[in-house]
Each structure stands twice: as structure tokens, then as C-alpha cells.
């Protein structure tokens, strides 16, 4: 077997406050009460505020997650250095996100205001990666008449700076609900942010885009028409946009858990010698923007779910230094395992570790659901990572590895604060992989177990949840 390793990781955020109104929850609530829109618009963050938000700087790699424990809270009112670029990627401003969407738009769905388009093109010309792309699709979007698009009731208006109307997206076909404008915008946003992460991966870790043979998409969108809703293959669409001319691709779907099965499948393809270089890529979830805005408004906070995320991972052959993917340590949540947290963590944490002769306490760090508690607590959803870490610690106590009095110490030693925006799949363990790779390369830790969970019961095809885990190990 060829040993698969993690040769690179990128992570990006795209600031998208004017897209919050298009998020699933806000759009439904604005539809029911139009008076809500001005309140939402009054609670948007500026780009500078988004840059200086500590959890965002953790996401792009400038701050280690555990450093958040030492920073004053709330992080919201204690800004850090507002850097755009970090070791893993960048925090893209909203104006450039529109340029990226236009670059992703193969079917001329977008129409943008001409003056705004000029502004966008000037900005893209300064972008370290996007400047070298052909910007004609952006120019063409600026030549289309968005006012005419908006005459059609099925087009959707697009805004910047909260409420400045700068464009529209039309639906794909008049009689196909799967190609309605809101779904196409969601899909384009996923494609564009995933492709940007792929470009950052290539620029940072020495990956030649021509060398990528397969791109596994692991996002949450459902790409397809009325006959194959969710048909997918955003993987190949992102490969094309990023310039991976020799790649094909496919998608791994598993709700929030998808990136970890995608990593395992990617590692298996490398291990089997099928492909030498595989990219696992997840783009952002537009539907989840503003998901918990009610909680934020209730606490007089700005709406914190204002960023789309993107992550890309380069899985390749052993180079003698990059962290190994231990395919013999994969944990899966079997159908018969049961749905209690204890049963899930037995399946995902304890049993796969036992299989390779490790105890829970022998793992350096666990990466689990890493949602930023500042986003979830105001809505009454609690601190999700902390709850998961405490359950892991309780399992270690049940197995006699630690004393019940050591649960808090276990959380401190093997856990971290949540820092990811509530972008579902990207908050689910994979957002730590860039940090994990750096820490494993520097031998700060020996092992990291990635533990992801997915809520397939939400699709109403089964009452089951699912999950997968895998151990990443230093050389």
C-alpha cells in the first residue's frame, strides 16, 4: 500500500454580509415580515470588523485555536490585527466575491451594474491569484442589463454594502424549480469559494494544478436539474474553474460529515495507486448565512454568520515528512450502533483507536464539531465543541482511562475552543486540519483524530445520524 499523506491545506473565508438576506432563515422570515429587513441591515458587520474578528483569523491560520482561550472575551468586542491573508488563505471582501461568482458563472446567469463591475475588476487585478485569470466573464456580467433581469419575477436582486442594488441572478429555466435563482446562487457560491480554496492550496503548498488528477467535492449544496436534484459533481466544476485541466472529479455527500469520508476516500485512492494527487474541496454554504440571526439581534449583536467558507486539502503520496492518514484507524458509525452520544463516540473514537492499539488519552488533539460558541450560545444552542469534548472525556472516564474528576483537564489538554463559522461541513473537524498539519510537522503533537458527524435524519430518509473519524499522524 502507498502511504497517503496530507501535503497541503488551505482555508478561506468570503465576507458576505449583503447575502445574509438570501440565507434560508433570514429570507423566510423577511418574506413573512418585510419590516425585519431594515433591522437585519442595521446589524451587518463591516469588512474591517470581519477581518479583526479573532475566530476568523484562526480559520485562516494566523492564530492557533487554543490561543483563543487566552484572548479576552467576547471576541466580538476585542478585535485583533485585521489581516486579510493568513498562512492558509484569505478573507475575501464582498466586492471581490461578486467577481469570483461571475468567474464561476458559465451560463451567464449574473448581471452586474457596470460601474460596480469596473470597481470589481480593478480589485481583482490586484488579487495574487485571480489577477492571472481571464476576467472576461466579469466584464460580460457588467454588460448585461440587470434591470431587465429584474423585470422577471423569478430573478433575484443582488446587493453590496448591505442594501446597494448592484445586480441580479436569473433562474436557469422557467419551468424547473431545481434551477430557480436562489438555488443557482447557492450553488455558484459553493463553487466559487471552493475553487478559491483550491487556488490558495496550489499557491501555498507547491501543488501544481496540472498535477491534480481527481477533485472530491464535499460541500452541502444540491447541484442538478429537475430530473436529478442533487446530481452534483461540483468537484469537477471547481477543478475546471481553478484550472486543474488534467483532473476529473465527483462529490461525496454526507451532510456536515462529508469532508472526512472524502478525505478517507481520497486517501484510499492514493493508497491504492489509482491517483497520485487528489484534492478534497468544500465550498461555502450560502443557505446557512444568518441562520441564528434572531439570537444575535436579541442580544444586540451584529449578525455573525456573515462569511462563506472554503477549504481544500491536498492528499498525495508519502514524501517522508507530511502527516500520514492512518487508513487503518478509520471509524464509522454503523447502522446498528445506536444514536446515543455514548454509542456514537464508541464507534467513532474508542473502537477505531483500539483497533490500532491506542487509548483515547494517547491522542494529542481531537478535532470535532468546532462551531464558534459566540455564534451559537446567543441563540440558545450552547457551546457545541465543549459539549462534544466533555462527552469524549466522559467516555474516557467510563473506560477507566481518566478519573471523573479529570474531565475538565481532559477538555483542556485534548480539545480546543470552537472557532468556525456555522458553515456545517467545514466546521466539522476539517477546519482544524491546516493547524493540525503545521503542528504535526513541527512535532508539537504526534496525533490528531478528526471526528465528524452528519445529520442525515434532516433529509427524512432515515432517522439515523452518521459520522466518520480518522487519525492523522506525524512522521
Amino acid at each position: 500500500m502507498i502511504q497517503p499523506v496530507i501535503k497541503g491545506v488551505s482555508a478561506i473565508l468570503a465576507h458576505a454580509p449583503s447575502f445574509i438576506r438570501h440565507g434560508s432563515k433570514p429570507s423566510r422570515e423577511i418574506g413573512a415580515d418585510a419590516d425585519l429587513l431594515p433591522t437585519i441591515l442595521a446589524h451587518l458587520r463591516s469588512y474591517h470588523e470581519a477581518l479583526s474578528y479573532a475566530p476568523h483569523q484562526v480559520f485562516v491560520g494566523r492564530i492557533r485555536p487554543n490561543k483563543l482561550r487566552t484572548l479576552p472575551t467576547p471576541w466580538l468586542t476585542h478585535p485583533v490585527a485585521p489581516e486579510r491573508f493568513g498562512p492558509f488563505g484569505e478573507i475575501l471582501p464582498e466586492e471581490e466575491l461578486y467577481g469570483l461568482l461571475a468567474l464561476a458563472d458559465e451560463f451567464r446567469l449574473l448581471a452586474l451594474d457596470s460601474d460596480f463591475t469596473e470597481e470589481v475588476i480593478k480589485r481583482l487585478a490586484d488579487h495574487p491569484m485571480l489577477h492571472s485569470m481571464c476576467l472576461d466573464p466579469v466584464r460580460e456580467a457588467g454588460r448585461r442589463d440587470f434591470g431587465e433581469s429584474l423585470n422577471s419575477a423569478s430573478a433575484m436582486p443582488l446587493f453590496v454594502e448591505g442594501n446597494r442594488l448592484i445586480g441580479a441572478i436569473r433562474r436557469g429555466q422557467e419551468d424547473d424549480e431545481s434551477l430557480a435563482a436562489p438555488f443557482l446562487l447557492e450553488n455558484l457560491a459553493g463553487k466559487a469559494t471552493g475553487a478559491l480554496a483550491l487556488l490558495h492550496l496550489a499557491s501555498r503548498d507547491g501543488l501544481s494544478l496540472d498535477a491534480v488528477e481527481y477533485v472530491l467535492g464535499c460541500s452541502e449544496e444540491a447541484v442538478g436539474d429537475r430530473y436529478q436534484r442533487g446530481g452534483g459533481n461540483l468537484g469537477k466544476a471547481m477543478a475546471e474553474m481553478a484550472g486543474c485541466g488534467n483532473a476529473s472529479g465527483a462529490d461525496i455527500k454526507n451532510f456536515c460529515a462529508a469532508p472526512i469520508p472524502a478525505l478517507v476516500v481520497g486517501g484510499s485512492l492514493v493508497a491504492a495507486g489509482v491517483f497520485e494527487n487528489v484534492a478534497v474541496v468544500g465550498g461555502g454554504s450560502l443557505a446557512k448565512l444568518g441562520m441564528k440571526f434572531r439570537g444575535h439581534l436579541k442580544h444586540q449583536m451584529p449578525i455573525l454568520e456573515d462569511v462563506l467558507a472554503g477549504i481544500a486539502v491536498w492528499v498525495g503520496r508519502d514524501d517522508g515528512r507530511s502527516p500520514r492518514i492512518r487508513l487503518d484507524s478509520v471509524g464509522r458509525h454503523e447502522v446498528k450502533a445506536g444514536s446515543s452520544n455514548q454509542a456514537i463516540l464508541e464507534a467513532l473514537v474508542a473502537r477505531p483507536l483500539a483497533k490500532i492499539g491506542k487509548r483515547i488519552t494517547e491522542v494529542g488533539i481531537f478535532a470535532t464539531e468546532l462551531h464558534n460558541p459566540e455564534i451559537t450560545v446567543p441563540q440558545g444552542n450552547g457551546d457545541v465543541p465543549l459539549r462534544n469534548y466533555r462527552t469524549m472525556a466522559a467516555l474516557a472516564a467510563l473506560r477507566g482511562e481518566i478519573d471523573a474528576s479529570e474531565i475538565d483537564a481532559f477538555v483542556q489538554k485534548h480539545g480546543m475552543p470552537g472557532f468556525a463559522p456555522t458553515q456545517g461541513h467545514l466546521a466539522s473537524a476539517i477546519c482544524f486540519l491546516g493547524h493540525a498539519r503545521e503542528m504535526l510537522l513541527a512535532k508539537e503533537i504526534e496525533t490528531v483524530q478528526l471526528v465528524a458527524k452528519g445529520s442525515l435524519f434532516l433529509g427524512m430518509m432515515s432517522r439515523q445520524s452518521d459520522g466518520m473519524s480518522v487519525l492523522i499522524e506525524a512522521q
Partner: protein
């Protein structure tokens, strides 16, 4: 504890899932009329 009671079960994925609560309710004599699990992230 739940003898003769009709019970609506609402669980959470990262807390205690609905089916796990339903098993406990059934074991203690309750009649589960609805099970729902939600995911808040």
C-alpha cells in the same frame, strides 16, 4: 415514571438524540407518539 403517559420526544444531535430518549421513555412505560431530532448547527 411515564406509565400511561403519551410522550413527545425532541432530541438534539449533539446532545441526546430523539431515538435514545424514546428508548428510555418506552422502557419506563411511556407511549412515544412523536420522535424528532434536530441539529442546531
Amino acid at each position: 415514571m411515564f406509565n400511561g403517559k403519551q410522550v413527545i420526544v425532541i432530541g438534539e444531535r449533539d446532545g441526546v438524540a430523539g431515538p435514545a430518549i424514546a428508548s428510555c421513555v418506552t422502557a419506563s412505560g411511556g407511549n412515544v407518539v412523536l420522535v424528532h431530532t434536530d441539529c442546531f448547527v
